[in-house]
Symmetry: none
Subunit: 246 residues, 2 copies
């Protein structure tokens, strides 16, 4: 059964090689998408090469819906995107994958039914199919080398879907880190200052204050866990012990 | 010749199949990236399977720089990302591809030299290599199916690079800092490891490897200027001198 989360369907139009269908299934499932529709696959269906390539995402192929033509495949959606590198003279909104999936996410959250169409490997999408789309998704590739294959295009749109659908904070700081409190940083600074003073590090005298300031600044600036602080204490303790053994 | 636009280098660590190296080259060039470094490719170099797969992006393979190990490959960068699905117990910032490439773009705009490391296909990155990175890039995939391959990972990071590089960097990185290059961090790590070994710090023996890994991870994680590194060298030198005076 497809996952219960509302999501867009991905529609493969006349895909040629089974391997590419399998790779597209993997790319979709990497980002939690599992509603695939396939229009008139060249080599028939089911396709053993697709199954072999899909390993781990084979369920998407078992559950894929087959159609004879584009109108039948997209009839029950209320908003459809076409992915194409070259919008060919059709006046239609052209969106980046990011903008399109942000919009799709909003449409789906409001109860809309959304599909994304992908053309056959070599020829790309035909104007007849592009004309049926409400908007175009174009990946901003290097104009000197715009050579995304089917599964790569699926991967990038799927990636943007997941970004749009899950409000991931852009930066995660490892929450498992047991960060040191300021008081521990303070004690570490004092420990080093004390021992380095004894060792004659703060020399010459008129530079000592500035050297201490720089050292304190270093410790404070570092994002340190409790374990880091303990290791740094341990390093200094060991050097002192080594010295005392003579 | 590589393109003149400043950009991150992509470093493939011990890649196994030539096809994957070729596919990675295509994925890079799709987004205008053309500085590839390769560490110890399993099947030697050059690799005809890589060339066959790279069609259209073969220049990247011709110009790729080969290295024997990770320290040599990243020595001249001042900020290095590791891509890994599973940050394994090393405390280090974890960023999405988007956040990482926004940051990389800002660093590069400020004159920084940035690299992104990708691990071997099956095993993924080793902790030894992750410990050398300043931060981790983790793609937010479906936790039930986190099966990105090498070229797909390269594709997504390259895509985010291009997104970040074609807009004004939203994030400001302190350009005034004279940041230490990786080779200097490597030397600092080696200096401490050497001296602490002599001082008997890595005890008991069966814990030594892990203690060394944690210490290396600490140095790599810290945003350090040249002056910071010099101060830390100075601290260790002074402790040794103090010991030697008896």
């Amino acid at each position: 059964m497809p996952s219960p989360d509302p999501q867009p369907a991905f529609v493969l139009i006349r895909p040629q090689m089974g391997e590419n269908i399998g790779a597209a299934a993997r790319a979709m499932w990497n980002f939690g998408l599992d509603r695939m529709r396939i229009i008139a696959p060249r080599d028939g269906w089911p396709n053993q090469k697709a199954v072999a390539m899909a390993s781990g995402a084979g369920r998407l192929l078992d559950e894929a819906q087959l159609f004879d033509d584009t109108p039948a495949a997209i009839g029950d959606f209320d908003y459809v995107y076409a992915t194409t590198a070259r919008p060919r003279g059709l006046t239609k909104p052209v969106l980046t994958p990011e903008a399109a999936m942000a919009e799709a996410s909003a449409r789906i959250a409001a109860g809309g039914k959304v599909a994304v169409m992908f053309g056959p490997e070599r020829a790309g999408m035909e104007n007849d199919d592009i004309a049926r789309a409400n908007a175009i998704i174009s990946v901003p590739v290097n104009p000197d080398f715009p050579s995304l294959n089917l599964a790569q295009c699926v991967l990038l749109v799927g990636y943007e879907w997941r970004r749009a659908a899950t409000v991931t904070p852009p930066l995660r700081v490892d929450a498992s880190g047991d960060w040191a409190a300021q008081i521990e940083i303070e004690k570490l600074a004092a420990h080093y200052e004390d021992r380095l003073d004894a060792a004659g590090f703060f020399f010459p005298a008129h530079k000592a204050a500035n050297m201490k300031l720089n050292l304190r600044n270093l410790w404070s600036r570092m994002p340190m866990t409790r374990a880091d602080v303990q290791m740094l204490h341990g390093i200094m303790r060991q050097m002192v012990r080594w010295k005392e053994k003579g």
